[in-house]
């Protein structure tokens, strides 16, 4: 059975991938929201991988230019042309420099490595933990899983930000701890979602049919119930990534996130806030825009996913 099933499912998976690709292509052509979300997500992921390599300046090293404003927009085409043809001695500071002389542009495009890897890590681990526990709690309903759900309710009842701050304050400002904080915040959400869906799916006739076919309960849960219960969690994932980015940045902003001078949007806003006193808006506005656009992009993607699965 294993070989027929996998044989059948490899080909069906290939056609599934192809049909998803076709759907994405068609949808992107007609739906501006989807195109926006897709572009943002791809750009952010690309920057997380290669942002630091593309940065014209080292995002952690100060330059001699302190508090330099960004060049006026009308000069950008000419500057870009000259930079690309090698007519400039030094790359322009597109977004200006901050109080320490750090190049804001280099830091903005280097930050996704920190922000996105923390947010993505936190969201994905929450997804795995939450759906796994949700499947168990929804499929086997007894006092132990009841306790699990209550415990996650208690966790959820703390304000998100406070939970994360306390956790990081207690265990130190390491990337791993920030991911852990995100997991504590987001796992209960995935658990609840999946459990509710599993309880609904378990009422369907195909679960009974599998029992009548002599399939063991935990195999039914894994083979039938889980795949049919994943949709709400997958929709939630996209939204969660967006919110996890805000939370990561927020933690840095209040000093509970990553250490300076790591390029990170929240940290940049926090440090740039002081520069506003001198009328220097650029060190905080550009990372702020980056966060807003990224979160909006992922939210748009989640919205589109929701429509596509309905």
């Amino acid at each position: 059975m294993v070989s027929t099933r996998s044989g059948a499912s490899v080909s069906s998976r290939l056609t599934a991938v192809r049909s998803v690709a076709v759907y994405v292509g068609q949808r992107a052509r007609h739906d501006g929201l989807f195109l926006f979300g897709l572009l943002v997500a791809l750009t952010v992921l690309f920057l997380a991988l290669f942002g630091e390599l593309l940065a014209p300046y080292d995002p952690r090293e100060a330059t001699a230019n302190v508090g330099m404003p960004p060049p006026p927009l009308k000069d950008w085409p000419q500057l870009a042309y000259r930079a690309l043809t090698g007519q400039l001695d030094a790359a322009p500071h597109w977004f200006g420099t901050d109080f320490y002389g750090l190049d804001v542009f280099s830091r903005v495009i280097s930050a996704p490595r920190t922000d996105v890897s923390i947010a993505l890590g936190g969201a994905l681990v929450s997804l795995l933990l939450g759906t796994g526990l949700g499947l168990v709690a929804g499929f086997y309903r007894n006092w132990a899983t009841g306790l699990l759900v209550r415990a996650s309710d208690v966790l959820q009842s703390f304000p998100v930000f406070i939970t994360a701050m306390v956790l990081v304050a207690l265990s130190g400002r390491h990337t791993g701890n920030i991911v852990l904080a995100l997991c504590l915040v987001y796992t209960p959400i995935f658990l609840r979602l999946t459990r509710a869906e599993v309880m609904g799916q378990a009422r369907h006739g195909y679960v009974e049919a599998a029992r009548a076919a002599g399939v063991r309960p935990w195999i039914i849960a894994w083979r039938h119930v889980l795949p049919n219960s994943l949709v709400p969690a997958l929709i939630q994932l996209s939204v969660t990534i967006g919110f996890a980015i805000i939370l990561t940045a927020g933690l840095s902003f209040v000093g509970a996130g990553v250490q300076p001078p790591t390029p990170e949007w929240g940290l940049m806003i926090s440090q740039g806030a002081g520069d506003l006193n001198y009328g220097w808006w650029w060190p905080s506005v550009f990372p702020g825009l980056a966060i807003s656009i990224t979160v909006l992009g992922f939210a748009a993607l989640g919205h589109v996913l929701e429509e596509a699965f309905r």
Binding site: M1, V2, S3, T4, R5, A8, S12, H204, G205, Y206, E208, A209, A210, R211, A212, A213, G214, V215, H224, P227, N228
Partner: protein
Amino acid sequence: MSAQGPAGRRDDGREPLLVARDLTVAFQRDGGEVTAVDGFNLEIRAGEIVGLMGAPGSGKSTAALALTGLTRSTGQIRSGAVDFLGANILALPEERRRQLRGKGIGLITQNPRAALHPMLRVGAQLINVYRAHHGVDRETARRAAAQLLGRLGINDPERRLAAYPHELSTGMAQRFVIAMAVAGEPQLLIADEPTSGLDVTIQAQLLDQLWDGARATGSAVLLVTQDLGIVANYCDRVAVMHAGRVVETQTVGQFFAQPQHSYSRNILALLRSDPGAAGETAPARSAEIGDRPVLLQVKDLHKTFPLQHSAKVVQAVDRVSFQLRSGETFGLVGESGSGKTTVGRTLLHLEQPTGGEILFQGHPLHEMAERQLRPLRARMQIVFQDPMDSMDPRWTIEQVISEPLGLTELSATAKAARVQQLLQAVALPLELRAEKPRALSAGQRQRVAVARAMAPDPDFIVLDEPTSALTPETTVEMLSLLRRLQLDFGVSYLFISHDLATVRVLCHRIAVLYLGQVVETGAKEDIFAAPRHPYTRALLASHLYPELENRRVDRAVRETLKGEVPSPVDLPSGCYLYGRCPMQRERCRSEPQELTRIEEDRAVRCWRVGEGEI
């Protein structure tokens, strides 16, 4: 009426009450437009009952609704005219049309629960309708409403007026919807499948009342249905719809004698092709089964469900006993709440029995744990009522069918070959292997469900209402398929159904269940020829056959049950049928009934039968 023959009244030159001309309704869908009703023409004369027939999707509901100027969701009436009482309804201002609805034309919809406001007492809703049409004060309206409900067969109407819709059974809710529709004393009543989803005894009750009411007040009825039994038993004329237009209008007598359109001819031919009469699919007479070995022996099977927040229990199955011989089909017949489905599920350990014995090929299933039972599952399978729901929507047909093969020792290639063999056995094209259940029609899906049940080559299959999700055409095909599989593979069936027509085709012996108890059991031929228990008699009398002989409305005595099925939590102390039974005596009130053997292989749960009174 008898002088006119079973066709009912003929064209007696009466003025038409409503004339629809060239009605066209279109729906917006995915940017495009779908024309659901396309040039619909129909004439309804005063006082006549017209059946509007057609396959699902032929536009009959949309057309019926459009007669009052209404459409659902994105629908729009594109063209046409509906002349009613000298004016074109479609050209009237909305305010005039609104006054016409209810007072001129009453509407009864398919799903009574959706037609009632869930948060208002049904009494308030009915009284509002009454006041709107008659302009009387609240107290007068209340008295009139209670009277109307009494006429519709509702006991204790004053108390029922205070109920909320969710407290009512579907049959009771439909009575309220009917009451609201007739409260304005309309000259035309449009009833859109008013009894779909109701039990046959309740269906007969409601349609009887509708017919009697219409005849008494002289109002016309447009009865939308796809049930030829309803058409034959209650209608004077019939209009057949196909692809959005009326393709045939005839008196009922001519329709059954000489159907014109190919759809009508096909469906009539299909219903008349009794699979029991056609050679190889003929069910063997019970006598031939008599000496075959017993496969399954059920003794005093008992099942109760605990009620939440209460010490009370729901009695679903009460001491049911029967035996099933190899190659035999045993029918469990009953209406909703009779416990027939629970019996089937208990046999397969999908529910744990509360008491009693189940012996399957000598194995005591009732005392076996799931682990011990698993190897036996290959020998007993089930086909569920809803084929779509019983298949994982993400799986291919091949995966669905091969799931029970996990119980066998077959190799992967042998399994693939087995799936091909099974698809051929249920007459499905092999190309369907790679499709998902969604891509199949309801009839094809149920064939897949049968193939899945046949996969491990079982000795016994529970068929839980396998045809209730199917159209009349596919039902006939499904029954002959099941019969052929039985002849080819010698499999035994427990056939669970509320539909007497299917039971008559497939079963050798039957048991009639009412509120968890067997009220009558015996050979099928005997029970159909001479039902003894009052419930069985009412059940058989309520079944609407698509034949014009002995129409229900022509009968001197329309044998039927009063009221509704009592709650299985508070059962009557005597006979469970007490209060509904047309043959009850004072003794029935307090004396619990026992199943008494009256002949070889025939038992009835009624003292009057036991003592030879009926």
